[in-house]
């Protein structure tokens, strides 16, 4: 187990520290729930001790009052400029779940021509389900809705719906077609995660869209020394996210390219020196 996997496990455990919630089916209600974690971790998960940033963002548009979410936007901006998609690779609990499922033996679908085009789908999802639909629902009916959480998010289904519906019979009695749809979607995601590396991160996640905007300038992340780069393409071949350029908006800073580059042109940005190459390699 490398450094990245260890940090992922520690982060996932820290985000879901309320173990008793999985026993009694009650979610955590303390003040820490006012703080957003950087990764995707449903706040209705019985173990969750903090808020999901995507859910918190949409909740500003849900309900009967439309609010500009200054607090959540400031948090997301700070996460983005400090970490970029380093969060996806190292700090996201749902990313860890995908990494673990991909370890299940089986045929792997890699570098399929045209599959990478699907990465534009997540931009459409982010704009439609996170930005437009919540506000549109508010303008039409007077009540906004967290459209991504409600219709798509598999993290909510897996981390919240599964344990809560299992533990709370009163919730089970209230399930409807949306529950069925979300479980169907979850099934598709879980199966695809065995054969495709992080399909949710690559093709669906709006949080990755946001953090990807900051990837090239965040304090943490991957950069390329152009003067050393020989354009051999090895970094693209070994990249599990199939990023065309190391450190671009697709890159989750997993570090596989830094280990593989024959000319040592790829490095983790040093947040202390803010930009320079680190001493040695990080895994």
């Amino acid at each position: 187990m490398g450094k990245r996997e260890i940090i992922q496990c520690i982060t996932a455990a820290a985000c879901n520290f309320n173990v008793s919630g999985f026993m009694n089916g009650r979610i955590f209600r303390e003040e820490s729930k006012a703080v957003c974690v950087p990764g995707l971790n449903c706040y209705s998960c019985p173990g969750a001790v903090a808020a999901c940033p995507l859910g918190a963002l949409q909740s500003a548009c849900s309900g009967t009052v439309l609010r500009i979410p200054f607090y959540v936007l400031g948090t997301l901006l700070l996460f983005g400029i400090i970490f970029g998609r380093f969060i996806c690779g190292w700090l996201c609990p749902f990313g860890l779940i995908q990494d673990l499922l991909y370890r299940i033996p089986g045929p792997k679908i890699e570098h399929v021509p045209g599959l990478s085009v699907l990465r534009w789908f997540r931009y459409m999802i982010a704009i439609l389900f996170v930005c437009i639909l919540p506000v549109a629902a508010y303008l039409i009916s007077g009540i906004g809705e967290p459209a991504f959480c409600k219709y798509i998010c598999p993290a909510g289904t897996l981390e919240a719906a599964v344990p809560l519906l299992f533990l709370d019979q009163s919730l089970t009695a209230a399930v409807g077609w949306i529950t069925g749809w979300k479980f169907f979607l979850l099934g598709i995601f879980l199966v695809s995660m065995i054969f495709i590396y992080r399909p949710f991160c690559r093709f669906i996640c709006p949080l990755g869209v946001w953090y990807g905007l900051f990837n090239h300038r965040a304090a943490l992340g991957i950069s390329v020394l152009e003067e050393h780069c020989t354009h051999c393409g090895i970094c693209h071949r070994v990249c599990p996210m199939e990023a065309t350029i190391a450190g671009n908006a697709e890159c989750i800073s997993c570090g596989k390219c830094t280990d593989s580059c024959p000319s040592s042109a790829i490095y983790f940005r040093n947040p202390i020196r803010y930009g320079g190459p680190t001493e040695g390699k990080n895994k």
């Binding site: 006012a34 607090y71 409600k150 909510g156």
Partner: protein, 43 residues
């Protein structure tokens, strides 16, 4: 540090301060401390 990065840090802190001043964190807490029926496919 690039000027744009400094600007983004400043903007993030300004947004955070405004949000804290307006007690936005209370709304986040209220939503996060109750079961999100939409998240589990019921609402």
């Amino acid at each position: 540090m690039h000027c744009k990065n400094i600007g983004i840090y400043v903007l993030a802190l300004v947004l955070l301060v405004i949000g804290l001043y307006r007690h936005d964190y209370i709304y986040v807490w209220q939503k996060a401390s109750t079961i999100c029926l939409e998240c589990i496919g019921i609402g």
